[in-house]
Amino acid sequence: MAISKEQVSHVANLARLSFNDEELSQFTDQMSKITNMFNQLQEVDTTDVEPMTHVVDLVNVVRDDVPAPADPEERTALLNNAPDTEDGYIKVPAIFNNGEDSAE
């Protein structure tokens, strides 16, 4: 089952990645080969086999929801990692394309 360029393009959109035409062709070719390898699994009889998504038995871990004071130094350090900040906030471009590269 070969994958089409359109499918790869759709998945790229879901993954928030963009590819030029050459990359798209290359990814289509590679993903077809890799998913062909994945298709070996179809020869395994898995009737009535439970899927395993985790190794350990997961239990909910709960704690009291107690607010802890924010450490101002940590806050500064966190903001230092942000690409763009203003007045102690993280700044991003406008959500809608209004022609202005502005967060206002």
Partner: protein
């Protein structure tokens, strides 16, 4: 200073007897390392100033005579969060990222007075088996600098192999500790899933990832693992209540141990010298009093397919957090919010990471979930049952870590399928959540061959016991690459 001739106990005694200070040890380590690393390229970031300050503070406090690790240098894979020390996961998207907190495992490293020297190179986000997927540099195999060191923890393995540091931490999602240990001739442990907290490990495949130690000897490895384990409230998948002294049975020998040799692990595609080394190891174990018989892991040939579906699916979800908003590199040409996401990710991730995200997204997408993700999760159950069947009447499993010795730099990187096929012997352990130990078992054309011991859940003690017995009966671990120098 290199760590070829001085075993940890000798150094520890010198520290305790004030013949050496941790400061001197650290200074000598860094000086030697700077020269050696020009040839190897194991480190992404050196933390010289802090390392020396930490060592000095440990000296002033006094070396704890009961703690073998006190004042000893260690290197850390660059996907483990280190407070105030740049952590990139070898990705451009995190090129400028400085964590504001330590991973749980780093808290334990500091609490035990280990001295962090720096951060080591790796495949970007731990995706790869050669460290060639690093966005920053190529790491070379100390045994032959035209060969890869393996991966993804290639920098950590090479740093220990070249005698630059006695210890390093790595992470293993599908073989990323064991395979580079095998390629570089050192000891690497992938502990049982849940043994070590993953809090502060940059997530790749959350149901598979485990942190683990590299060292030059089995004994040192066990001593380091002792301090890394335990339940952590910040990681709901960490498991407590199984704590053991992993060095306790080192001298117990292997008399009466029942070892299984899976026939699938010595099949087609495994290099002849690697098969020979494993068969010789089996003979050695028999000579030492263990029984070794052939067993079968019938679903192991499906491991690569199941692993790449599951790990890529988990990765596609985990890596959604890298969006150019709160940390990491943001694309400069973004005109709106969607541009920020798409351009930052497109410019920030390398080709292999993009390929995994795409495969994961595809496997999870509507119409393909049952055929890929669910099917892989069912096969995973069967693979786990294969192991359980063997462990009904065996104590451990012996096999190669990888089908070949280290390959040439640039050889495999262009064909993903060839690269993925090399993981066939290491991924089943991660899928089943079991512990796996890699240790030196021979050489082919001057390159190390590693053997893998696979144990029952939470039975690392038996792996170290069997590993130590083999190590004491052989001299593979005593051989060192000439590149590291013989001073």
């Amino acid at each position: 200073m290199n760590f070829f001739d001085n075993d940890l106990t000798t150094i520890h005694n010198q520290l305790v007897n004030h013949e050496l200070t941790s400061y001197e040890l650290t200074k000598q380590t860094i000086e030697a390392l700077k020269a050696t690393d020009q040839k190897i390229g194991a480190f992404l970031t050196l933390d010289e100033e802090n390392a020396l300050a930490t060592a000095k503070a440990i000296d002033e406090k006094g070396i704890d005579a009961t703690n073998l690790l006190a004042g000893i240098p260690i290197a850390i894979k660059d996907n483990i969060m280190t407070k105030n020390l740049r952590t990139t996961a070898a990705s451009k998207i995190l090129e400028n990222f400085t964590p504001v907190y330590d991973a749980t495992v780093m808290e334990k490293v500091h609490a035990n007075d280990l001295v962090v020297i720096g951060k080591t190179n790796m495949d970007e986000f731990a995706m790869g088996g050669s460290t060639e997927n690093s966005a920053f540099k190529v790491t070379k195999n100390p045994w032959d600098t035209t060969k890869v060191p393996g991966g993804s923890s290639g920098g950590s393995a090479a740093a220990v192999s070249a005698g630059m540091v006695p210890f390093a931490l790595g992470s293993d999602t599908g073989g990323s500790i064991r395979q580079p240990a095998s390629f570089t001739g050192v000891v690497g442990m992938k502990p049982t899933y849940g043994r070590i907290s993953r809090w502060g490990l940059i997530a790749f495949g959350s149901s598979l990832d485990q942190i683990g130690p590299f060292s030059r000897s089995v004994k040192d490895n066990a001593a380091l693992l002792n301090v890394l384990v335990g339940e952590d409230k910040r990681d709901g998948t960490s498991v407590g209540g199984h704590e053991a002294d992993f060095t306790a049975k080192l001298d117990a020998g292997v008399k009466g141990l029942r070892i299984g040799l899976p026939k699938e692990y010595l099949g087609a595609g495994v290099q002849q010298e690697v098969k020979d080394a494993i068969l010789a190891a089996a003979a050695k174990y028999r000579e030492l009093g263990a029984t070794v018989d052939e067993v079968s892991l019938p679903h192991s040939k499906y491991g690569v397919a199941a692993y790449y579906i599951i790990s890529s699916s988990e990765a596609s979800s985990n890596l959604q957090r890298f969006d150019g908003i709160r940390y990491g590199v943001r694309a400069q040409d973004a005109k709106n919010l969607d541009d920020v996401y798409v351009h930052s990710r497109t410019q920030g991730f390398g080709p292999e990471v993009k390929r995994r995200i795409m495969l994961g997204m595809y496997s999870l997408s509507a119409g393909y979930y049952d055929a890929y993700f669910k099917k892989a999760a069912q096969v995973r159950t069967l693979m786990r049952q294969d192991f359980a069947n063997i462990f009904k009447d065996h104590d451990l499993i012996l096999g190669p870590v990888a089908p070949t010795t280290a390959y040439g730099i640039g050889e495999d990187v262009t064909d993903p399928l060839t690269m993925y096929a090399g993981d066939v012997l290491s991924v089943p352990v991660n899928l089943a959540g079991l512990p796996g130990l890699s240790l030196p078992a021979g050489f082919a054309n001057g390159l190390p061959i590693g053997m893998q011991l696979i144990g029952k859940s939470f039975d690392e003690t038996t792996l170290y016991q069997a590993g130590y017995a083999f190590e004491q009966a052989t001299d593979f671990h005593k051989q060192v690459p000439t590149l590291g120098g013989n001073d």
